[in-house]
Symmetry: C2
Subunit: 242 residues, 2 copies
């Protein structure tokens, strides 16, 4: 179909917003050269929309990288002809407090940047309320060890390259996103936006998620399953090997 | 539904790519403080995916702004708590050749930046093969005059504020995107990604569009109509007034 007629579209009736003071968080977005722009800016857009809602303005965002130089989305090995550069606000060495971390992926990323990101995740994991991985960002999280003994998912095209990074992880193929404890892992690229909306719904309720969806005019996937891209790419569940 | 099960998902059978040399373009993305990140990075992501496909690498991208300082997505009037900064590559005064222009919108944009963008569109319109507007970017295009005597659409939440900017335009409410000649106008925020995929399909064919969609794991809206967000926001067609 693909015409939007059968999708889950909230109506204006759903915009009743609870009057109790909602929690505010410091959101950290990890960046490294070669990051995938949609992985990062899908979730970021939902937060840019969130802070426009009365009573929800008091969020903070940190863009965290290995240094304060602009981070390029260009394929780290330089095979792509172009990329876009985003200015970070903090470094992995001294980002200060962060409540919720977003870990985007990419096709070919700067290993120094992703190594520092993995170390940051490992060293500070106990401080985080939630971690959301997008696409191959789950590979970075797996390398940090935080996905050990958890269920997770990742990009379906890169399935065979990503899942070995988490030998103690149960990798779920048929999932747009997977929740295990406070770690939300999402599938490839655009799945991050759906997973992020589900996380915001879990935190703030469906009225807020709906308000963001309407603000973005977004045809949301509201359920974590099924995921047709698993079948398209022949991705199958992977059990822990170690 | 919203579970993705009824959406238009291409199968691997559709990945036959034509072997004739495809055209390469210089893509220009216009930015101004207060731009909406998803308006810009949805279409940009499709191009970042395009240049990964063998034979389609030779595209060029220019990020064009009023000067070379990083452009912030933060609400220009400073009401939002944060924004993200993107580094431009060219200025409106001297961007050099551009074939296809992407005009994102925003909720509260730097008037100096959008004025320069509108002048740039007006002065160089004859050189462009295509123009794609996203969201309130149609307001900038309308102010430039390039939407005069054309059919177009724009953001549905901002419908009543945007449509008066194009008094000689026929504004179509029930549309995810509208094509009139070489101008593709899309509805709010995420509609830009669908419109951009439709434009890429028009240029390069459905196999390329499908490859990008699978690369993004994107649940695409393949049709320009219907648009449930028109009804949600009470947007109705507006005929030219002048």
């Amino acid at each position: 179909m693909g015409d939007g007629s059968s999708l889950c579209i909230p109506t204006t009736q759903s915009f009743m917003i609870n009057s109790t003071a909602p929690p505010s968080f410091t959101w950290g977005v990890l960046l490294y050269d070669g990051f995938e722009v949609f992985d990062a800016f899908g979730p970021i857009e939902t937060l840019n929309q969130l802070v426009r809602i009365r009573g929800y303005e008091n969020q903070t965002m940190k863009i965290i990288a290995k240094d304060l130089k602009p981070v390029s989305s260009q394929d780290w090995k330089g095979r792509a002809k172009f990329g876009q550069s985003v200015v970070p606000t903090h470094t992995f060495k001294d980002p200060g407090p962060v409540d919720i971390v977003i870990v985007p992926g990419g096709k070919s990323m700067d290993p120094e940047g992703t190594e520092q990101a993995a170390k940051y995740l490992k060293d500070h994991f106990k401080e985080f309320k939630y971690v959301l991985t997008v696409c191959t960002g789950a590979g970075i999280a797996a390398e940090s060890g935080i996905l050990d003994n958890r269920r997770a998912t990742t990009n379906k095209q890169g399935w065979k390259f990503m899942t070995p990074k988490g030998p103690k992880t149960t990798w779920i193929a048929e999932a747009r996103w997977v929740v295990d404890g406070n770690i939300w892992s999402t599938s490839g690229v655009s799945a991050g936006t759906d997973g992020m909306l589900a996380l915001l719904q879990a935190i703030y309720g469906s009225a807020i998620a709906d308000t963001i969806v309407v603000g973005m005019e977004y045809h949301r996937n509201s359920n974590g399953t099924p995921d047709p891209f698993a079948m398209i790419n022949g991705a199958e569940d992977v059990k822990p090997s170690g």
